[in-house]
């Protein structure tokens, strides 16, 4: 009995002792240096009219393969967001950010998913450079265009615009490199930026050797191989903000489908990407606004296409020139702090595939229509219902498969207060 009393007294003293000692008096306490931390969850329920096994084999003809569903690349399994019918846990995004010293801040954004951990972004930003320049270094989303820099959960729809996803893949231009931006001393907003990036985009700007290093299908290049530049300007007219920008990206291109089970092929050459974006936001009051956002992308891929047999032997290597363009345009109405609705139109406008000087006929009418409504219980939780009709997907037999998708998406965040830029 005595023992129990004694130990319970000791425990109380310990707990009490820990409680009463204020943080500032704890010797060597470092808790005040903890960076800002937040965790964002993105999960969805998907109802698609095409089976999971089938959806991964669909393609946007002449443009891109495997935009939907999950795929196996060698040993690793790679899944896009909202890959499966039914429930999907897309990711848990962990964000850490803090000042480093008087000269730098650092941000880390990590995606935890069932396939592992990805460093989404990890960069330092200078805030002490002269001439109003800003330097960023590490891995980050390029500021190409408008949407590219934003994180998935900041988008107004659960999926990426068709033209972005089919040209650049679901991460867009997300690369290791350095970025320099300069804001001009003008009365209106004018910003110019330049980026040197490693060039690891699998869908357009790769640089890796394709095939066996000893006897490659296409030789790789040493990085950095990707260069991005842009100018953005903005002006307010009353409660309306207009933001416009033009962007350009140029780099090596290696697109590796040499280990695909069906029609293995590869591309090696150079790629150029042009972008123009325009955003109009009219605010009706503190909480209500109308936003019209459009982007046009145009690309040129110039190089050699390698067609392969199942053993990886080259069966043909025609010169390939692809001139493709597309756009999306979306309108979002924010009613109040709770409700938001939106419409989006996607299309591939131009799809010229020229093989050995001969134009390879590609199907027309590659477009997609999306509508969404979302409800926010607070600033930290969002539920979104989205419906889309996608007319851009074709199966391996070259037949169009109209895909209707319903996505119920949830985004929940805890921790530090997020602040999104315009």
């Amino acid at each position: 009995m005595k023992k129990i009393l004694l130990s319970s007294a000791l425990c109380t003293a310990l707990v009490y002792g820990a409680d009463v000692l204020p943080v500032e008096k704890r010797t060597f306490d470092q808790s005040k240096f903890i960076p800002d931390i937040s965790l964002v969850m993105d999960a969805s329920y998907v109802d698609r009219n095409v089976k999971d096994d089938e959806v991964g084999h669909l393609e946007v003809p002449g443009v891109a393969h495997g935009l939907l569903g999950s795929h196996t690349h060698g040993d690793s399994n790679h899944a896009t967001y909202n890959a499966e019918n039914g429930f999907n846990l897309n990711y848990a995004e962990l964000v850490l950010s803090s000042s480093v010293d008087p000269f730098f801040t650092m941000d880390g954004i990590f995606h935890f998913s069932e396939n592992g951990v990805e460093i989404e972004e990890l960069f330092f930003t200078s805030n002490a450079l002269r001439y109003d320049t800003k330097l960023k270094g590490g891995k980050f989303n390029s500021n190409f265009g408008y949407l590219n820099e934003q994180h998935h959960h900041a988008w107004d729809f659960a999926d990426m615009p068709l033209v972005y996803e089919s040209f650049l893949g679901m991460h867009g231009i997300n690369e290791v490199g350095a970025q320099l931006q300069w804001t001009a001393p003008t009365p209106f907003y004018l910003m110019a930026g330049f980026e040197i990036l490693q060039g690891e985009n699998e869908q357009m700007f790769g640089k890796e050797t394709i095939g066996d290093v000893e006897n490659p299908i296409a030789e790789g290049e040493d990085g950095p191989t990707l260069y991005v530049g842009y100018i953005k300007a903005s002006h307010d007219i009353g409660d309306t903000t207009i933001l416009g920008g033009i962007s350009y990206a140029q780099g090596a291109s290696r697109i590796d489908h040499s280990t695909d089970e069906e029609n293995p092929h590869a591309f090696s050459g150079d790629a150029k990407l042009y972008g123009a974006d325009l955003v109009l936001l009219h605010s009706l009051d503190s909480y209500s606004s109308i936003k019209w956002q459009s982007e046009y992308l145009q690309r040129e891929l110039d190089g050699t296409q390698y067609t392969l047999d199942v053993d990886g032997n080259i069966t043909g290597s025609p010169l390939m020139l692809k001139k493709q363009s597309g756009l999306y345009s979306q309108l979002i109405y924010t009613h109040d702090k709770n409700w938001k609705i939106g419409l989006r139109y996607d299309t591939i406008l131009k799809n010229d595939v020229i093989s050995n000087g001969l134009n390879v006929e590609q199907p027309n009418g590659l477009d997609k229509y999306t509508a969404m409504a979302e409800y926010h219980t607070s600033e930290f939780a969002r539920f979104r219902l989205q419906y889309s009709q996608d007319n851009a997907m074709f199966n391996e037999a070259g037949q169009r498969e109209k895909i209707s998708t319903i996505i119920l998406q949830t985004n929940i965040s805890i921790g530090a207060h997020g602040a999104h830029s315009f």
Partner: protein, 292 residues
């Protein structure tokens, strides 16, 4: 030719002599201009008739921060949702929070209603306490003094001007304060309802008691259940009125008013929140005369 050369060389100098100070809210702009006089210009980032918590970080604001020689903010996490990306994008060392030309006013006044427990189940609370401290006229003096010291520290050359402007303001404000106290003397002890507790300091200064808010919790939109509870609370406690901000819809407040018979009184929180409120005195003139 010589004239032209002098003009060209003098032009940037005159520009430099003039401090361009970016401020987050109109009331800070007015105070800074009062103390700074002709030696400064102020650039106000947020509009006075909008919810100070939710300002769209328009790119034009990046330019305003980029072109500023100093930045004065309210602090207390009022700007947490919109100012950090602007500062970050502007890349201006003079507006970086660690620089000597950055001023966080909340560090110079005592914040009330600091939550003992910080948990978002209690809504989007301000962990450092209620940040709407500028609505107590006594705090205005503290803020004016802080801004004066700040201006002197970044522009010592004009110390005398800033001291003199401050003294003039002090004198005027003291007179005004006794006027307002007189106007509000019969309001002491009144109970009030608000949408969001942004008049906490005003209420404390004049002895009003806030007994409830129309929003169930800070930042959480109204719900019918909470509205019914509020109506019952009003019937039980007999508050004088609903003091309502200008940026939330008065729909729910009007409904409650209809059910209970108490008045809805619009209370501007800042300069330009309502027409004709174009300076700080006018703001308090209005506030102290609003409750009839």
């Amino acid at each position: 030719m010589k004239k032209l050369l002098t003009l060209i060389t003098l032009l940037p100098l005159t520009l430099l002599a003039h401090l361009n100070i970016a401020v987050s809210y109109p009331y800070i702009g007015a105070l800074t201009k009062t103390i700074g006089g002709e030696h400064i210009t102020t650039t106000v980032l947020a509009k006075g008739n909008w919810d100070p918590h939710f300002i769209i970080p328009r790119p034009s604001l990046i330019t305003k921060v980029r072109n500023a020689d100093a930045l004065i903010m309210n602090g207390g996490q009022l700007e947490i949702g919109w100012l950090p990306p602007l500062i970050n994008r502007a890349g201006n060392p003079k507006t970086s929070p660690s620089s000597a030309t950055f001023l966080n006013l909340s560090h110079h006044v005592e914040l009330i209603n600091k939550p003992s427990e910080v948990d978002r189940k209690d809504g989007d609370i301000h962990p450092d306490g209620n940040p709407h401290f500028h609505l107590d006229p006594k705090n205005t003096l503290l803020l004016a003094n802080t801004i004066k010291e700040f201006l002197i520290s970044i522009d010592t050359e004009h110390r005398d001007v800033y001291e003199k402007n401050f003294a003039v303001f002090l004198d005027m404000w003291h007179k005004k304060m006794s006027e307002w106290s007189q106007k509000m003397s019969d309001k002491n002890g009144l109970k009030v309802i608000q949408f969001h507790d942004n008049l906490a300091y005003f209420n404390k200064a004049y002895g009003l008691t806030n007994i409830g808010t129309i929003e169930p919790l800070p930042g959480i939109p109204t719900s019918s259940k909470h509205t019914i509870n509020t109506i019952e609370l009003i019937k039980r406690e007999n508050p004088c009125c609903i003091l309502h901000d200008v940026y939330h819809s008065t729909k729910t407040a009007d409904f409650i008013s209809q059910k209970t018979g108490i008045k809805v009184v619009l209370m501007p929180h800042d300069i330009e929140a309502l027409e004709n409120i174009d300076n700080l005195s006018a703001l308090f003139d209005y506030l102290t005369g609003a409750i009839k």
